[in-house]
Symmetry: C2
Subunit: 176 residues, 2 copies
DNA sequence: CGAAGCGATTGCAACTTGCAACCACTTCGG
DNA sequence: CCGAAGTGGTTGCAAGTTGCAATCGCTTCG
């Protein structure tokens, strides 16, 4: 997508790969939303990404080695999978979530996951990454006895939505 | 800089504020490079940022509440300072650095800091943030007996450069 | 066999990026 | 007191990127 790197700095390298308005949003939807198909990523996206932007970002993420793509033929359901490099963006997303939670306005329903992710800390991130390795790479989880982090996050989200319906005092439902 | 947020998601909020090719690079230079003046940020920047881009980014970062600016009059040396929100981007930069280190090509000299930051983990990040609070906000460090993280990082960098000079086997000195 | 769903692509206007030049002002050395 | 160097930017402009809306060819479902 780009020529040679602007410098050999590790932070710069990450910014060059992930530093735009959409790449990390798409990764978030794949990682936390469990979405693996174009239509799914397009229609259920919270921020209303456009289809051409999504197509371009997916292409770039595949080229950058964060995702792989099995096309499955025209008109049929292709699947995007995370690579190990994609899975390892979890700590970045967690750090961004913690920061956004503290320093930006957010809605309670949508920020539950960020809060939970912060409370769980690195141990939870690692469990989540193990689960993602199982789902996307077929590598069995090393601790199958532990609850699946995706379920914890999903349940917390649903609970927050229910809570919000019961007591919707925020100025219009901003999010969904 | 932007209208209303695209959604109430914490990760999205962070991406809207920091998700471009330059904002985090500027913050990196302020945080790890100790640069606080326009000219300093412009001339010593590793990636060769243009002056108009730097001006626009600084303005945006001030507007977003990550930096403050004391103008000091035309022709005189004004100073940019980190706010608490700006200081709390340290974990984000650390996470990006760890990822870049693992999954992108980097040069040894420039990635020492990322490596050190990863090895030190959250305790080191917190010490660094305390030091930044002292420098930029005038809040005394809670643990003055500990070595200043900025010195550790700087010394490691200089050591790496010396090491590299002694044994420069990388294909042309890509970075500086 | 028609409607809905699939993964995109295209056209186009608006905006952003980044190079190069320039600007008004202050400070420093002699 | 004067010129050079340093201060923090702004302006012009070409090239590239973003994002809305419409469309497309295909498959699957009822």
């Amino acid at each position: 997508m780009r020529g040679r790197p602007r410098s050999g700095c590790a932070i710069n390298a990450a910014v060059e790969a992930l530093g735009d308005q959409w790449s990390l949003i798409v990764l978030r939807d794949v990682i936390f939303g469990g979405r693996r198909h174009f239509r799914d990523l397009l229609a259920r996206n919270e921020e209303g990404i456009a289809s051409n932007i999504l197509a371009a970002r997916l292409k770039a993420l595949v080229a950058a080695g964060l995702l792989t793509h099995e096309p499955a033929g025209r008109g049929r359901k292709g699947t995007y999978s995370l690579t190990e490099a994609g899975i390892q963006t979890v700590p970045i997303l967690a750090a961004l979530g913690s920061w956004g939670l503290r320093h930006r306005p957010t809605t309670p329903e949508l920020s539950v996951r960020a809060r939970l992710l912060e409370e769980g800390g690195p141990p939870l991130w690692n469990d989540l990454m193990d689960e993602l390795r199982e789902i996307h790479l077929g590598i069995p989880r090393p601790h199958p006895e532990r609850p699946r982090p995706s379920r914890l996050l999903q349940e917390a989200y649903l609970r927050a939505v229910a809570e919000h319906k019961k007591n919707p005092r925020d100025g219009e439902g901003a999010g969904v």
